[in-house]
């Protein structure tokens, strides 16, 4: 999923991994992955499924402790 990588390119605070789930069964088990894309933020499952850009960013900001709503200006 390209969006995570795009965020990492834009923010020095973000590191983004694209992980081929089938190759790492220990991680699949750790995060209870049953469907993809499955997004983990700072070691916790954040959401499953593709999200539009604004909502994806909202979830990332939420994980960073910054309250926001999709479409809300900073």
């Amino acid at each position: 999923m390209r969006l995570a990588h795009q965020l990492a390119l834009e923010s020095e605070q973000i590191t983004a991994d694209m992980v081929e789930a089938a190759e790492f069964p220990d991680l699949v088990q750790r995060y209870g992955i049953r469907a993809v894309p499955h997004v983990v933020i700072n070691g916790r499952t954040a959401f499953v499924g593709a999200l539009p850009e604004a909502e994806f960013v909202a979830r990332v900001l939420e994980a960073a402790g910054i309250a926001t709503k999709p479409g809300q200006q900073s």
Binding site: R2, E20, G43, A54, V57, A63, S74
Partner: protein, 139 residues
């Protein structure tokens, strides 16, 4: 790994590269089913543009280097430029994820994320490290 028609298409896309991109790749000889294919794939890509610079390291021999980049499993590939090494692929990027790899190479070279201005502004609020992992399957 890549057939000739695919090589031709990838070569054409990589002509858009404006600045060098490093592919920092970690691999190992034993106990890794996809490591050989991943290395061969990246070697194919690197041969298609002089701006793609592939570096291959053995995880077992280069643990400190890997740890500095946050890598502890293989195959792992970091797409890096002079400003950062925060875009990574774990596993063999084939199928749709091969397209994602090419997009990452192009974006890292240009330095442009192609995100909406509102998104870029919101990202500036982040003051602490965030680790995103997106789990996918080959298609």
């Amino acid at each position: 790994m890549l057939d000739e028609p695919t090589k031709a298409r990838v070569r054409e896309r990589l002509q858009a590269l404006t600045a060098p991109v490093r592919l920092i790749h970690f691999t190992q000889e034993l106990g890794c089913e996809t490591c050989t294919d991943a290395r061969l794939l990246l070697q194919d890509v690197a041969k298609l543009s002089e701006r793609v610079q592939l570096e291959v390291y053995n995880l077992q021999l280069e643990r400190a280097h890997a740890a500095a980049l946050g890598i502890d499993r293989v195959p792992a590939t970091v797409v890096a430029n002079g400003r950062g090494a925060r875009i990574r692929f774990l596993g063999l990027p084939v199928g749709y994820e091969f397209a994602t790899l090419l997009e990452a190479i192009l974006d890292v070279s240009s330095g442009h994320s192609h995100l909406q201005p509102e998104t870029i502004a919101r990202l500036q609020q982040i003051q602490q490290p965030i680790h995103l992992q997106v789990y996918v399957t080959p298609t």
